[in-house]
């Protein structure tokens, strides 16, 4: 069984791995496109503030800015560890 999996993995072409990885990273890049330059900094600082109170991981914070008709909404999602 293990051998079969090994052979299967061997047969997977590197180009399809490349494509898959690119699709993910490009989608991520695009989600950040057009957002203000201060966003990465804001994200870091918010994380610092939260960390003064609870310990959270780097990827426990998700921040996004959505534009609606005449206002923008800053959405902040923080996953807190179970205490």
């Amino acid at each position: 069984m293990k051998l079969l999996e090994f052979l299967k993995r061997e047969r997977r072409k590197s180009a399809s791995v490349a494509k898959e990885r690119l699709q993910i990273i490009v989608a991520h890049q695009r989600s950040q496109r057009g957002q203000p330059d201060y966003m990465p900094m804001l994200e870091r600082e918010l994380l610092e503030v939260i960390r003064r109170y609870v310990h959270v991981d780097d990827d426990a914070i998700q921040i996004s800015l959505d534009s609606e008709d005449n206002c923008s909404v800053l959405e902040l999602n923080v996953t807190l560890p179970r205490s």
Binding site: K13, A15, K19, L22, V26, Q29, R30, R33
Partner: protein, 272 residues
């Protein structure tokens, strides 16, 4: 009024200068009065690829700083009529390039040229942003390789936000994809991204596909843009690319594996 086209990529070494030289040569060969500008201040190379490195007297920065007039800095191509090269400075620091200075030069060139090609430096710093800032169209040069495709996507983001057209809310820059160093053999064996993969990810209009070719190195060795090598695959592919840029409908070539004939198999006729 000239059309301003930036040749850009983000990543270095993908063929920007080769492409800028080949496409500007192709445009001039079709009778379009063309100037190609090297924006890579500090690391100029377009002059070498165009074969005019020993005729450089004044450069872009000299003109911006008023040490020479534009006509003194423009180098007339030896081979094609209607083709001019504006070299980058080799020694100055990058801050010598200013947006106002570049604007003034382009404004002047616009009056007597049909096409202005801006050969961008690699990266997304000042030089690259200035090369794209005033563009009407952009040729994004991409290799079938992950880092190149990713960087091209970054460049598309900048084209859509950090350019004059974007800032002034005009029609967006027309973006073209130019895939270079494509190797159908490796694509067939599954170890190179296919043209369709790249098109799907970047989702912009395909302008051309240049196969990986010995002719490109041969051309740069000699300082003769590869468009002049009309018997070579790369030369023909660039010529097709120029036709498409001029609005002609050209079928795509060199993207599929060519079956070797008996003769070439016997005599080992390599890629020309």
């Amino acid at each position: 009024m000239a059309k301003i086209i930036v040749v850009t990529s983000g990543k270095g070494g993908v063929g920007k200068t080769t492409s800028a030289a080949a496409i500007s040569t192709g445009l001039a060969l079709r009778g379009k009065k063309t100037v190609v500008i090297d924006f890579d201040v500090g690391l100029r190379n377009l002059d070498l690829i165009m074969g005019c490195e020993r005729r450089v007297v004044y450069d872009l920065v000299n003109v911006i700083q008023g040490e020479a007039v534009l006509n003194q800095a423009l180098i007339r191509d030896k081979r094609v009529e209607n083709l001019f090269i504006l070299p980058a400075s080799q020694t100055r620091d990058k801050d010598a390039l200013t947006q106002e200075g570049v604007a003034k030069i382009l404004e002047k060139l616009r009056e007597d040229f049909d096409y202005i090609l801006c050969d961008s430096p690699a990266g997304i710093e000042r030089g690259a942003q200035l090369a794209m800032y005033f563009a009407d169209e952009a040729i994004v040069v991409t290799n079938p390789e992950v880092s190149s495709v990713r960087d091209s996507d970054r460049i598309l983001g900048l084209l859509a936000s950090k350019t004059r057209r974007a800032e002034q809310g005009e029609d967006p820059i027309k973006e073209h994809l130019l895939v270079t160093r494509y190797n159908p053999e490796r694509v067939t064996s599954g170890d190179m991204l296919t043209l369709d993969d790249i098109r799907e990810i970047l989702a912009i209009n395909l302008l051309g596909l240049i196969p990986e070719s010995d002719a490109v190195l041969r051309a740069s060795n000699q300082g003769v843009p590869v468009t002049h090598d009309i018997s070579s695959d790369a030369g023909q592919a660039y010529s097709d690319t120029v036709s498409r840029l001029l609005g002609e409908d050209m079928p795509l070539r060199f993207h599929e594996l060519q079956r070797k004939g008996l003769l070439s198999r016997m005599f080992g006729g390599g890629r020309r």
